[in-house]
């Protein structure tokens, strides 16, 4: 079968991109190579490490386990899209800074996106739920304890932020 190129349309962090890719292009590679958004990291490329996690139509997904063509028409949020337009850190990003939730930072984009989506669904997780949320992401530096704390701290910051808006 000869390889065909497909034209796809992705809205990434609010910006519409039209890009032509071969069908075998992974979404992770499309983001990094075609769109030059290298915040999404690629670790294992078979769905184990979680570093490449992005939000597809608001739902967390492994971008290394999705073809870019399958995401045609979707709204994708990468780690570059988490901060506020003025550059202020999101609650999850601020919590990682507060709690020392990262050291080398390679795995961090996947943690931030995973936790952002999980807190949208469950804004008040227990300690056990916080562990379950990050259970599919690998980190070789922190020992995870500070990341669990960051999940709980992010939930706290979000609640405080919402209370401040009232």
């Amino acid at each position: 079968m000869t390889e065909t190129a497909e034209e796809i349309r992705l809205t990434v962090n609010g910006v519409v991109h039209t890009v032509t890719v071969p069908a075998r292009r992974l979404l992770s590679d499309c983001l990094r190579h075609d769109l030059r958004l290298t915040g999404t990291h690629v670790g294992c490329e078979h769905g184990v490490c979680g570093a490449c996690t992005v939000l597809v139509d608001g739902i967390a997904a492994r971008s290394c386990l999705m073809l870019a063509v399958s995401a045609d028409g979707a709204e994708v949020t990468t780690v570059e899209g988490l901060a506020e337009p003025d550059g202020a850190l999101s609650a999850v990003q601020q919590a990682f800074a507060d709690c020392h939730g990262l050291q080398c930072g390679f795995c961090t984009p996947g943690f931030l996106t995973t936790i952002t989506a999980a807190l949208a669904e469950n804004p008040d997780p227990t300690h056990d739920e916080a562990r379950e949320i990050i259970g599919g992401n690998l980190c070789r530096c922190t020992g995870y304890q500070n990341i669990v704390k960051a999940v709980l701290r992010a939930a706290e910051l979000q609640r405080a932020g919402r209370a401040g808006e009232l």
């Binding site: 079968m1 000869t2 390889e3 065909t4 497909e6 071969p22 069908a23 075998r24 992974l26 590679d29 490329e45 078979h46 769905g47 979680g50 996690t53 739902i59 967390a60 997904a61 492994r62 290394c64 386990l65 999705m66 073809l67 063509v69 399958s70 045609d72 995973t114 999980a118 379950e132 949320i133 259970g135 599919g136």
Partner: protein, 285 residues
């Protein structure tokens, strides 16, 4: 690691999908959630010449429940099934098993029907379908056929789906009122493939005695193994565990030795039967 090149179609209807599958023949492959297939493509353990992406077939993204079955369409994600309260009430084993399928992010995208068609002997949903005597609905341009679980799983990663067929639905029988179910498994880390897992359904008769007990095993055989433990339960659940241990013939791999897997089959059988019986008694009240 990148997939080798392939042709690609993204049909908008089931009729279109099965027509394409018929035209491309045995070297085609269906892409649903991709959480098992894409790793195989990335590692080039699989290199189909053509992928048929069914992610636009929203007509298959259903979960429907009647008096007898929970029917799960081919595009229902694990997370959708896990969150469905009506499905959980009709067949609690679905939720118990799905909570053990990989991690939440994988469940967001992976489909229940896809994991059954993938026929991994370490898959929780294959064991559930086999234990419940469920079935899979296969659709082709020629019509539909319904294959019982006992005939569906042919070997590791091999199911009865033919090249021109699309698995459109899995049917899980509902839990009888006098029955309880449980799922117990051991994995190296939470969310990893199970070293051994046991799903059990226990039905109680008058006076609370075990009227029927069955268990399905993952990671101990090439296809989901189902054992009838009704007679073995007469001597107690520990006796049933010893019986199960004698029945399984696991093999060794990098995760565990054969004897450790056999040991786990016994321990987890006892544990799953106890939990299932306790839940059956709880429902009976």
């Amino acid at each position: 690691m990148k997939p080798s090149s392939f042709g690609y179609s993204r049909p908008e209807s089931v009729a279109e999908a099965v027509a394409i599958l018929a035209s491309i023949g045995p070297d085609g492959k269906v892409l649903a959630g991709g959480q098992s297939l894409v790793p195989l493509l990335n590692m080039r353990l699989a290199a189909p010449s053509h992928l048929v992406d069914i992610n636009r077939l929203s007509e298959l993204a259903y979960i429907s429940i009647d008096d007898n079955h929970v029917a799960v369409g081919a595009l229902a994600r694990h997370a959708d099934v896990l969150r469905d309260p009506v499905a959980a009430a009709a067949q609690p084993l679905l939720g118990m098993a799905l909570a053990l399928v990989a991690h939440p992010v994988i469940r967001n995208r992976g489909t229940t029907v896809g994991s059954i068609v993938h026929a991994d002997p370490a898959g929780e949903m294959t064991a559930v379908l086999a234990l419940l005597d469920g079935s899979v609905l296969l659709t082709s341009s020629g019509g539909q056929r319904c294959v019982q679980a006992k005939d569906f799983f042919l070997g590791p990663l091999e199911s009865d789906v033919q090249p021109a067929e699309l698995a459109t639905e899995a049917r899980f029988p509902v839990l009888p009122p006098s029955a309880g179910c449980a799922f117990a498994e051991v994995s190296r880390r939470h969310g990893d493939y199970a070293v051994c897992g046991v799903a059990a359904v226990v039905e109680l008769g008058d006076g609370g005695a075990v009227a029927r007990a069955r268990a399905a095993y993952l990671s101990v055989a090439a296809t989901p193994l189902v054992l009838d433990l009704t007679d073995a339960c007469a001597g107690g659940f520990a006796e049933a565990g010893r019986f199960a241990m004698a029945q399984v013939r696991p093999t060794a791999d990098i995760h565990a030795t054969a004897s450790y897997r056999r040991h786990l089959a016994g321990v987890l059988t006892e544990r799953a039967l106890q939990d299932a019986a306790a839940r059956a008694r709880g429902r009976g009240r």
